[in-house]
């Protein structure tokens, strides 16, 4: 039993979050990911991030873990040549610069095909490699705004909402599935391809049903926590400061179970809530009744009781609750990783369990800049120590 992607190698030029999360997922599935970096433009996690309260480099970076690190100054022609040598021994080349940048560096798809004719190249960008907006720079909240996910998320009477890192990371996970499809195609046909993932289109793909409704003349709008076919459906106050519980009732049977816990036979028999149409019509009153009850309940205990009664419910979990959860630990969705000084901290694993691939997941921390050059430049590329020193002196390996 081996990690499924053992033997796959990725030349990883990606920066920021979306692209690196894609290659991070593939690295946990067994791919050998060579992260190409430079001291000239260190990755964000190698610098302080005062806005987030981190005053030095990150001691562990989720999306860089399990990757190898080599330094290349891509601004130098010899740097681009060295990068091509890595591509030449790789299955995948991944990048997330603005469209056109790889081409200007001499590392566009056609150039990479020259060194590896069946290379799968992944390009992740805000608006895609083509079209009038392809040059646009963007960050996660902009992808959400362009793609409709931001406009549709929000309280009914409030403004749209910024979609944050989850936006970047879903782009990365989507890209990982597209790259896998391209690998299967390569295996079937011998042909590589260029995979072009547009972040704003990923945002739109997550509201495809609303876009279809609009195509039919409908006008989907923000609806807060409510649902057009379920009531009660929402996030209700629980006992304690800033504590909440999410509850969703789909069927009459579920409603009777919830009503039994809240108000017994009287509420079960209340004709205002006897079918889904009545519950939707009286949703405001229903929410008031449910809130009055939940406000007296511990969010986690109430969730347990509701689940036992057959009602979909879950406390609105904070990050520490998630990091400590036995279920997520049992599934290795949360794993413990060691910092360089031995401190243990929680990290997020790859979101799947494989019956014949139990070894998947994070198996190495965050690489130091250039940590794996002996392996990559020495063992894999066969560069002599003298040649490597020359390239360092010329600020190519830099």
């Amino acid at each position: 039993m081996v990690k499924p992607l053992s033997g796959i190698r990725i030349a990883d030029f990606t920066v920021h979050n979306a692209g690196p999360f894609c290659t991070h997922l593939l690295s946990q599935l067994g791919a050998e990911v060579v992260k190409i970096e430079s001291a000239m433009r260190p990755d964000a996690f190698r610098k302080p991030h005062p806005v987030y309260g981190r005053m030095g480099p990150a001691t562990f970076d989720q999306v860089a873990s399990t990757k190898l690190s080599v330094r290349i100054n891509l601004k130098k022609p010899e740097g681009a040549e060295l990068a091509k040598q890595i591509v030449g021994i790789s299955d995948i080349a991944a990048e997330s610069f603005r469209p056109g940048v790889m081409g200007r560096l001499g590392l566009g798809y056609e150039a990479l095909k020259q060194v590896k004719d069946n290379i799968v190249m992944l390009s992740v960008s805000s608006s895609g490699q083509s079209g009038p907006d392809s040059h646009f720079a963007g960050y996660a909240p902009l992808f959400g705004a362009w793609g409709g996910l931001g406009e549709l998320t929000g309280y009914e009477d409030g403004p749209p909402v910024e979609i944050r890192h989850v936006m970047d990371h879903t782009v990365g996970m989507n890209a990982a599935s597209a790259v896998m499809a391209a690998l299967h195609h390569r295996r079937a046909t011998g042909q590589g391809t260029h995979v072009d993932v547009a972040a704003r289109e990923v945002a739109a793909s997550l509201v495809g049903e609303a876009l279809l409704l609009a195509a039919a003349g409908g006008e989907p709008k923000r609806i807060g926590n409510s649902h057009p076919g379920m009531a009660p459906h929402g996030v209700y106050p629980a006992k304690g400061e800033d504590r909440w519980i999410s509850i969703a009732v789909r069927s009459d049977e579920e409603w009777r179970a919830l009503a039994g816990l809240i108000g017994g036979e009287t509420l079960i028999a209340d004709a205002r809530f006897s079918g889904v149409a009545s519950r939707l019509a009286n949703a405001a009153e229903l929410d008031r009744i449910v809130s009055e009850w939940t406000a007296t309940q511990d969010a986690n205990e109430a969730s347990e009781r509701l689940q036992q009664a057959g009602v979909a419910a879950h406390a609105s979990w904070t990050t520490p609750e998630i990091a400590a959860d036995p279920h997520l630990h049992a599934r290795k969705a949360i794993v413990d990783v060691a910092e360089p000084d031995g401190t243990i901290r929680a990290a997020v694993g790859v979101p799947m369990r494989l019956s014949k691939g139990e070894e998947i997941g994070i198996h190495r921390g965050t690489p130091k800049l250039g940590e794996h050059e002996d392996y990559v430049y020495g063992e894999l590329l066969g560069l002599t120590d003298a040649r490597r020193r020359e390239l360092e002196d010329a600020e190519v390996i830099y």
Binding site: P4, F21, P50, Y52, R54, A58, G131, G138, P141, L142, A145, G147, G148, L149, G150, E151, T153, G158, P159, P160, V161, H165, V166, T170, M173, N174, M180, A181, L183, H184, H185, T193, A198, E201, L206, G208, E209, A210, L212, L213, A216, G217, I223, N225, V235, S246, A248, A313, S316, T318, T319, I322, L328, R331, I334, P351, R353, S355, K356, G357
Partner: protein, 383 residues
């Protein structure tokens, strides 16, 4: 690329929820032949809102576009035989039957592995098929709140306006769809080693997938800070109300701030030398936003975005679905394709956010009618 990347791959899906159906949709759009194995009354997704004008489920139409529909009534022997025949031809089986009901239907891990040793068997459930919560049920709102992001939204302007309200879920089926995307990735990864190890069981939880895309909160926890929806708002910029709608503004780099100052017309407040320091800008974020919002309130979104993009200021219009449908960028990219949706006519449907070899993918068609591609034990359903 002249053919779709997954041409020749056969997928069977028993999907009553969005996550499993979305996994099949992703694989189907990339070229796989997808058969939905439905109960005689059809998957419950056919009855899920939102609805198109003629009562057709827009959600089902989107998720099932290009798939085949085969009725397999697993309460009867014929239906089970029919499903078994489908699976014996298939590469991937995607199933969201609750764990507790699988054995009785012959759909448990061991039974499938015994009968179909080369099949990649993908289980897609809210909390997975293994672990103390494997039996728990969840709608999308519960998935989002069990995986972290639910508690962390809204941020920015919305939480500023309504600080005491309940946290807010992302629209639609964001959490469940993450499960679907992880399932597609898991299926293709397991399939990659099938020649060496045979088929295997892939256990997907939408909660795990939602947590994975929310990994940054766990990262920050390890760095020593706990995210909260109020504190994680951008200090300035963010959602900016304009005369005719909203725009998103985010200047993370120095040159982007300098572009913004130009865009604003270099007003005196923005030329304060202290604001050249990014930390000072963060500290004075509310003051900056007062000025920015006042300036934007009398201007139209598109005018600001057009001028700003020329100055390399990251700006985007908060687009409505109707605006996205007619956007020249999305049109150029072939993001939408007209397909026949029975009962609603020809409609533009989102195809895929991926291009392969410089080309958009294509849908094989709209959603299938129930049993359009075969029925087993249909007599029983009609009885």
């Amino acid at each position: 690329m002249s053919d779709s990347p997954l041409n020749g791959l056969k997928v069977v899906a028993r999907a009553s929820g969005v996550a499993a159906a979305y996994a099949a949709r992703l694989l189907g759009t990339m070229g796989a032949d997808v058969s939905l194995a439905e109960p005689p009354q059809g998957t419950p997704l056919r009855r899920e809102p939102p609805f198109l004008p003629d009562g057709v489920s827009a959600l089902f139409a989107y998720l099932a576009a290009g798939a085949r529909s085969r009725v397999c009534d697993l309460d009867g022997e014929d239906g089970r035989t029919a499903l078994g025949a489908l699976l014996s031809e298939a590469d991937i089986f995607i199933d969201d039957t609750p764990v507790g009901r699988r054995e009785a239907l012959g759909l448990d891990e061991a039974a499938i592995a015994r009968r179909h040793p080369d099949l990649v068997h993908v289980s897609v459930l809210p909390f997975g098929a293994f672990g103390p919560k494997a039996d728990w049920k969840a709608e999308d709102i519960n998935v989002q709140h069990s995986s972290g992001e639910g508690n962390l939204l809204p941020n920015g302007l919305a939480v500023e306006m309504f600080p005491d309200r309940a946290p807010l879920k992302i629209y639609g089926h964001f959490g469940e769809m993450q499960g679907g995307i992880a399932a597609a990735l898991g299926a293709l990864s397991a399939l990659w080693v099938r020649d060496e190890v045979g088929g295997q069981f892939v256990d997907i939880a939408s909660q795990d997938a939602g947590l994975a895309v929310g990994a940054f909160a766990i990262q920050r926890l390890g760095d020593g800070s706990i995210e909260h929806r109020v504190e994680r708002s951008f200090r300035y910029g963010g959602v900016i109300p304009c005369a005719d709608g909203y725009l998103e503004m985010l200047t993370l780099e120095q040159r982007q701030w300098e572009g913004l100052v130009k865009l604003l017309g270099e007003p005196e407040w923005a030329l304060d030398p202290a604001l050249e320091d990014s930390l000072e800008r963060s500290r004075r974020g509310p003051e900056l936003n007062r000025h920015i919002r006042e300036w934007a309130s009398t201007r139209n979104v598109d005018d600001i975005v057009e001028a700003g993009q020329k100055l390399n200021v990251p700006l985007a219009r908060y687009k409505t679905p109707a605006e996205i449908l007619r956007d020249p960028q999305e049109r150029h990219r072939g993001l939408f394709q007209p397909v026949e949706v029975e009962g609603a006519g020809m409609l533009d449907m989102l195809v895929s956010p991926f291009h392969f070899g410089g080309e958009a993918l294509a849908l094989h068609g709209g959603p299938p009618a129930l049993g359009e591609h075969g029925r087993a034990a249909a007599e029983k359903a009609e009885a």
